[in-house]
Symmetry: C2
Subunit: 481 residues, 2 copies
Amino acid sequence: MADKITSRSQDYSQWYIDLVRSAKLADYSDVRGCMVIRPNGYAIWEKMQAALDAMFKDTGHVNAYFPLFIPESYIAREAEHIEGFAPECAVVTHGGGEELAEKLYVRPTSETIIWASYKKWIQSYRDLPILINQWANVVRWEMRTRLFLRTTEFLWQEGHTAHATKEEASEEVLRMISIYKKFAEEYMALPVIMGRKTDSEKFAGADETFCIEAMMQDGKALQAGTSHHLGQNFAKAFDCQFQTSAGELDFVWATSWGVSTRLIGALIMAHSDDRGLVLPPKLASRQVVVIPILRGDKTAVLEQADAIVCTLKKHGIPAFVDSSEQNSPGWKFAEYELQGIPLRIELGPRDIAGKKCVVARRDTLEKTELPLDDTFSMQVSEILNNIQQNLYDRALSFRNEKTIEVNSYEEFKTAVENGFVIAHWDGTDETESRIKEETKATIRVLPEEQEYLDRYKMMEPGICIYSGKPSARKVVFAKAY
Amino acid sequence: MADKITSRSQDYSQWYIDLVRSAKLADYSDVRGCMVIRPNGYAIWEKMQAALDAMFKDTGHVNAYFPLFIPESYIAREAEHIEGFAPECAVVTHGGGEELAEKLYVRPTSETIIWASYKKWIQSYRDLPILINQWANVVRWEMRTRLFLRTTEFLWQEGHTAHATKEEASEEVLRMISIYKKFAEEYMALPVIMGRKTDSEKFAGADETFCIEAMMQDGKALQAGTSHHLGQNFAKAFDCQFQTSAGELDFVWATSWGVSTRLIGALIMAHSDDRGLVLPPKLASRQVVVIPILRGDKTAVLEQADAIVCTLKKHGIPAFVDSSEQNSPGWKFAEYELQGIPLRIELGPRDIAGKKCVVARRDTLEKTELPLDDTFSMQVSEILNNIQQNLYDRALSFRNEKTIEVNSYEEFKTAVENGFVIAHWDGTDETESRIKEETKATIRVLPEEQEYLDRYKMMEPGICIYSGKPSARKVVFAKAY
Ligand SMILES: [Zn+2]
Ligand SMILES: [Zn+2]
């Protein structure tokens, strides 16, 4: 089993590192800032991919693959884009033993290489919309890295769509951020606030960036997905015009949207505890572990354990048995708690005699007895649903508790060390950047959801906590990962 | 619809290029040798991935992800490996705006970066075996490229396993090449010869390479998958020792195995025709297209078309309707033939009156009538199975016809322009390389399958066609992609 995990209360940062290493989710490699995603971590990514990919396809998107390398001249075409990305890129200068005539950037994101293709594919409104997604690796040179959350190379999906009108593009931007919200809440059991980014926080090259923001157990924010309205910026940079249905020429409208393996970091930080990983059942490739207590009639216990696994699998519940005699039941309990298996079934000779078993939930650590009768699989399935819902409810209560509204900068400075802060802001870059400098807190999101707006009366005008100038609305501040 | 496709008889090479472009499977990008895999092409890759991934998992493998970048010093650790790969690598020299202290190679294959991790993970026989697969992009600088078949960047999977004994590793090597054979034959409808490579054709760093070789419609060979016994070479290079169950220290045994997006090229070259793509139903994301003939009572026809799609989908057959009035039925017939949809259903007012429809197979271009009754889905499913089987049978007959046994070098030189050649070889590198120099033909495989060995009496001793020296067995020569 694993080394001891530092407790969250003692050192949240160290707890995270210990957990990721002990549960064998990821490792640093010897390549600066690059991680190895180990099988336990990658299995979570596969579940995420499957769920997201199905949602993308249900909304008419198809997958494709564009080159890893981007010519320097492409990156340079969109002015804000090169300013934002070029300094953090890895650059290929040699290939096939020779120096290259033009440097190649390892993609930090693919807008430019994709719009070079779209220019070739789009002539008329009949070629629109294009609704393409790509699953890929990207590289952004990072000085300070953290497994899953910030690494030089990471895995992600990036959607890139092309539309005939601005309105259609706007609809797409909102459709995709809504899909991300649905995924975060229904699969990751992670409540998120959906809304817009300020100008200074938006994507380099976008007119508007929508995001979903989640709260971690230390009260910090984590951006869990973004969807960008790119206007006609990339179409203009790549001279991509099309004939409209009215017979005129216009530039194509664009969106892009993405989530990455940092979601695995968010998942860990939102739900896990001092014993290890806590996984929402919908993202657990193994939902139930059966641990036979091998005393007395071992054969009967092992047979019943296998029978339980077989029944659960038949009902679509991925279960497995650990019958190794090398490790004690207690060791196994700890090991599978560390690995975040949502449900543990303990089964000994006395259970078999009583036609029952003991069921231990990973989220609450509660143990209950379940009869081994015809209702068994249904009851297990119900408990798994309860775990999924409980994780969400717990995270939402936590976020509500840790969200504080303030009316002065003094209050703000204390509150923002502890969670999300709702406050009035005068709408200027200057105030935003001063607050960031002084407190390291940023404006995470200008919420767009009615429920959230109502809850905190966000659209009421007021006075900026920093400048004392008039403020049109409140915004959400936090320190962030 | 697409531009005209050159016929195979006129120019096979041009036919392939025309088809790939017209069917929108892939495009060259402006990055030298790198391709864009378009949605129609990527959909085939997704079907391949799903089938292979399930087979890997059924045999106990798990997925993981290792860094894209490999430090120069890693590549250098295995002598044959660096000699084979370094000259064809892309090299990152700058990151984050600064020159790197150590150059990073974009992975051409991942043995070295993976064994650097395995060294950390493996201490004892209890940590073995490790059965990991990775889905990833790799880069090998290519001077002469061809879409799917040979590109600078391509997608693949690479399995990397670690074992306590040589025998276990040998079993794994054979298990995986058998899985590739099964996949090629059952999914791709592609007959392949399984066997060993000669020393000069094996993987750089392997003790032994197994492969599957397929024949294309021009009689050339295409290597469709490889599985390598790496012995203890990489364990020694990375000083990866483990404690055996007997308490001694030994180096770990290794295998690696992979298939790539070149399989899409193989699929096209094996089955397609002058009208466009021909897809085996098992790799078609859309198996049936319904084309309504919109004359007379359009509403009735459209309703029936939707009903057919609905019924087929309910029975697990992915079908869709093209009811656009912008294009004629004839245009649609040609378009979906180009795209390789295995089955076309034509439905007009007269068909509805007669409670029937016309069904056109893509493989044979045959048309038959099917009654629209309770047996309909079952009959469609049967036809799809027949198409799958027919493609395999046709390819196998073709390969048999184009496989010739020769007894002299004169015969050899003529025969090898036309297909596979079975011939005696004296087993020396010298003979092999001279034949390659003079004819451009290589020894593709030393077959290991009993059926193939029997068919061509391959294990009978004889006289080398080139040197006249004694030969222990026959081998398979061909020109290759
Ligand atoms: Zn970057
Ligand atoms: Zn290489």
